[in-house]
Amino acid sequence: MKVLLSWVREFVDVDESAEAIGRTMSMRGLALEGLEPAGSDALLDFDVTANRPDCLSITGIAREIAVAYGQPFRAPAARLAPLAAAASAASGATLPITIEAPELCSRYVGAIADVTIGPSPAWMADRLTACGVRPINNVVDVTNYVLLEIGHPMHAFDHARLDGPAIVVRPARPGESIKTLDGKPRTLSPDMLVIADAARASAIGGVMGGAESEVAGGTRRIVFEAAWFKPQSVRATSRKLGLRTEASMRFERGADITAPPLAMARACELLQQIGAGQAAGPIIDAYPRRYEPARIWLPQPRIAGLLGMQVANDEVRRILEALGFEVSVGDGGWWVRAPGWRIDVHRDVDLVEEVGRHHGFEHLPTTFPGVQQAPSPSDPRITRDGRVRQIALGSGFSEAISFAFIEARYAEPFGDGKAVTLANPLSEKFAVMRPSLVPGVIAAVGHNRRHGRRDVQLFEIGTRFARSGEERVLALAWTGLATPDHWSGGRRDADFFDMKGVVEAVAAQFDVTLAVDLPADGSMPHRVLVPGRAAIVKRGDRVVGWLGQLRSEVTDAHDVPANDVVWAAEVALDVLAPAGASTAKRAMPLPRYPATVRDIALLVDESLSAAIVRGTIRSHAPETLVSVVEFDRYQGKGIPDGKVSLALRLTFQSPERTLTDAEVESATTEVVELLAREAGAVRR
């Protein structure tokens, strides 16, 4: 709300500079958004919160300034109320006003005036212009001047163009239409309120007037309107029509139902003052629903109880009365009635806020809430995700955070065809809730590759969405070298086993052993992955996720450079390590007897998987075989075609005694013979 300082000063004496006033009011609930000089004057732009429509006016802001500075406020009501009363008792031309929907329009004040249309005087036009309102003609300018000054919207009809002439406030008829002042035809519905004459709609109540009855050059007699419309109704109408006006903005937040006669008196006064005309009859006040301000009990202890600071009783009363509240002292508190413009005040806390804000939040002490019991436990996912994050970071992955909504074409290959989509996305780029976090990390890989990074390792921990609900997952992507370049060599590209190792390390954090496998039904592990370089990850029988090399169609879609090999994985953390699962551990005693190690080298078919070799050994070996590790695998010179040389390290250990060489040797021989029999292995 932009206000001219000189205009404000008509209602309150405050000597301070505009800057100082702005600073003070910012601490009283009216944040200063802007300040510009306007000749010798100043224009202050205050951010008025949605609960304070009364401050969308010069007098509303002047009242706040008066309270803040402890200065008297020259309330317009004090001067205008007698004027309105006198005008209501006057005689002359009258106007029949019928309110058919008193719920939606609880007060309608009208008056007839004879006018000579012309430009407004410069002082009025200048004030309107400074506050952002374009001057039109003296009559319209008077309504806008009143709007800015006391905050109540008004309207003027050309009396000659009202059929009757009469004012009927009624719901629109089905299919009824009106051309509004902005020249646009509007089709109305029965949930909208119109101001009609005897025949047809001449304005949309509280939103905008009609072009038919517009006050123009030839207008000689007008009907002034100052009414009160129900906020929800105006808001709904304004939304439905896509039509927001200065009037609708104030009515939908809540106008002062006691203000219409005052606004009318002020308008008639201004009309005469600027020589634009004069009232041709009494002020007619149709007021079917009388406003009864509620009495609010404010217990004295409630103030310190909420604020945590003491405010003297005199100060409480001064603040409330200066703001326009009626205050009477009761037993241990105050009975308070809110003025008509304070539609935001309903209960004691609202009054406490008034007291606190004008006493000054700057006087609040700094204390801490007392503790009555130990805190409840935190979300176990936070600790769990933190452990996953540590492994990912320690494995060289940097953390990404992506938008949770993605383009449908990116989501499609990852989803089940039943994605969670948005009704009103910002754009197609943000239309679908991600069914996987992998598209986000691939996009980030693409971004970094296009910006000159050769090696990119990224992970994200976040929520993926399905129609069945939300799920916390880890996504990983890796392209480029397995380890940083180094003068000592060892340069090689990241491969399947790098990614598999990271996924297994994450699982090991939670003492979970994963199976990296192919689907039992012979299907491909995932349609985004290159067959033969892809696997699913299982915990027991449950699929936890997948890993492998992304197909080029998928990386191309995210503008990853062609020929880049990108490895990706996704792991459902809630399956891998259900939040809140027991983390109890028991320490194992250290072995008391030494282990014996035997290395064996075997020649086996290259199609024989390591898992089968390991499984075969495990199924027949003695209990003393505690580990089997593949430590070399070689194909090439010296190895027959179709064969592979596999070196295994067998570790034997007993918790009860030192094993003898002979028994280890015989166990090893048994293993080798078993492999020869079952897998056609030949010892080298």
Binding site: S378, I382, A444, H447
Partner: protein, 366 residues
């Protein structure tokens, strides 16, 4: 190394100066050996050349030249021995490594700056005895708006432009409310939560007072991408409910948080404001961390930076969850994680947080 032709005619004194010059650049064992050969070898060296010349000299010359050549030889021998010793002292022991080559750095990833702030805020409040929660990102209208005192058609809903689902989902699990005004039937999930305040309601429905929690996570609004807005961002919500909780307690708590986040002595101010779910409400500013209050472009010359919205929980909210507003009071606050990160690190474009550019991510630590 500069070498001149061996010319005994110049005499031992000038030859000695020449040697000193050549010695100055001899920095390896090989160079020292070369000098030895060139200056004092039996044949073809400077000294041997002087000796040959001596043979043809007159007795008078012999005496002078002989002494000069001898002194030159001694000088060269001593100087070379000295240099050899110097070199030996700096020679690398057997098996020595070139310690100036680059180390083999473990490849460690970098944390996302928002993740760092999230953790920092979580730790600050854990230390103050709060439980730290996350919650669902898809919400129903009741928990996101209605129970926060924002009924349908409330103008305050305009403050947050909402993203809605094309088709509502039904919650996977449902616990009927035991008190308060929550609907008795499971509510369809229709929207992306616009604030973490929805978690206030869920937790108060679940827990009896006292309550002391922060809820952290992503929230969504229909805001176009620009320097200061993204349609998804992160919030931390704080809620304390109990007997005798006051606005002054909120001020103490947030002052302490600001000091932890931005440095001790960080000045904080409370400005009255409006939120439908708090009364009284306050916006909280910190003293501008760039200009320290003198006024700059960052703080729009006000000397202050807004960091969060807060207030005393509105009694209507307590009524929605079935708490007695005459028995308990509470405070709540909501702060944007991105906003903190922008201010703390002087990031000028919020979109950088969602580009995942490693050149950006690697600036904040692990």
């Amino acid at each position: 190394m500069t070498t001149t032709t061996i010319d005994p005619a110049i005499g031992p004194d000038r030859a000695r100066a020449l040697f000193d010059e050549e010695l100055s650049s001899a920095r390896t064992d090989a160079a020292v050996q070369a000098l030895r050969n060139r200056w004092i070898a039996r044949q073809g060296s400077w000294v041997s050349a002087f000796m040959e010349r001596l043979a043809q000299a007159t007795p008078e010359e012999k005496k002078q030249l002989g002494r000069g050549a001898n002194e030159l030889k001694k000088h060269v021998e001593a100087a070379l021995a000295g240099r050899e010793q110097e070199l030996a002292a700096t020679r690398r022991p057997a098996g020595a490594v070139d310690i100036t080559l680059p180390g083999r750095a473990p490849r460690l990833g970098y944390r996302h700056p928002l993740s760092l702030i999230r953790q920092e805020v979580g730790e600050i409040f854990s230390r103050l005895g709060y439980q730290v929660l996350e919650g669902p990102e898809i919400e129903d209208d009741y928990h996101n708006f209605e129970a926060l005192n924002m009924p349908t058609e409330h103008p305050a809903r305009d403050m947050q432009d909402t993203l809605y689902l094309a088709e509502p989902l039904m919650p996977a699990s449902y616990e009927p409310p035991t008190r308060g005004r929550a609907p008795l039937a499971p509510q369809p999930l229709t929207l992306l939560r616009t604030h973490t305040s929805a978690m206030q309601i869920r937790e108060m429905e679940r827990q009896e007072p006292p309550v002391r929690l922060v809820a952290i996570g992503p929230v969504y609004r229909r805001d176009n991408l620009d320097l200061t807005h993204t349609p998804m961002f992160h919030q931390v919500e704080g809620l304390v409910v109990g007997r005798g909780v006051t606005l002054a307690d909120l001020k103490g708590t947030l002052t302490s948080m600001a000091a932890s986040l931005f440095g001790s002595g960080q000045e904080v101010r409370f400005r009255p404001s409006f939120f439908p779910y708090t009364e009284p409400s306050a916006e909280v500013d910190i003293r501008c961390i760039r200009c320290n209050g003198d006024g700059c472009a960052m703080c729009k010359r006000t000397g202050w930076l807004e960091i969060l919205g807060s207030g005393m929980v509105h009694p209507a909210v307590f009524e929605f969850v079935g708490y007695d507003p005459d028995e308990v009071t509470g405070f709540a606050f909501g702060m944007g994680i991105e906003r903190v990160a922008l201010l703390k690190w002087g990031v000028e474009d919020i979109r950088l947080f969602y580009e995942n550019d490693l050149r950006f991510l690697e600036q904040f630590g692990r």
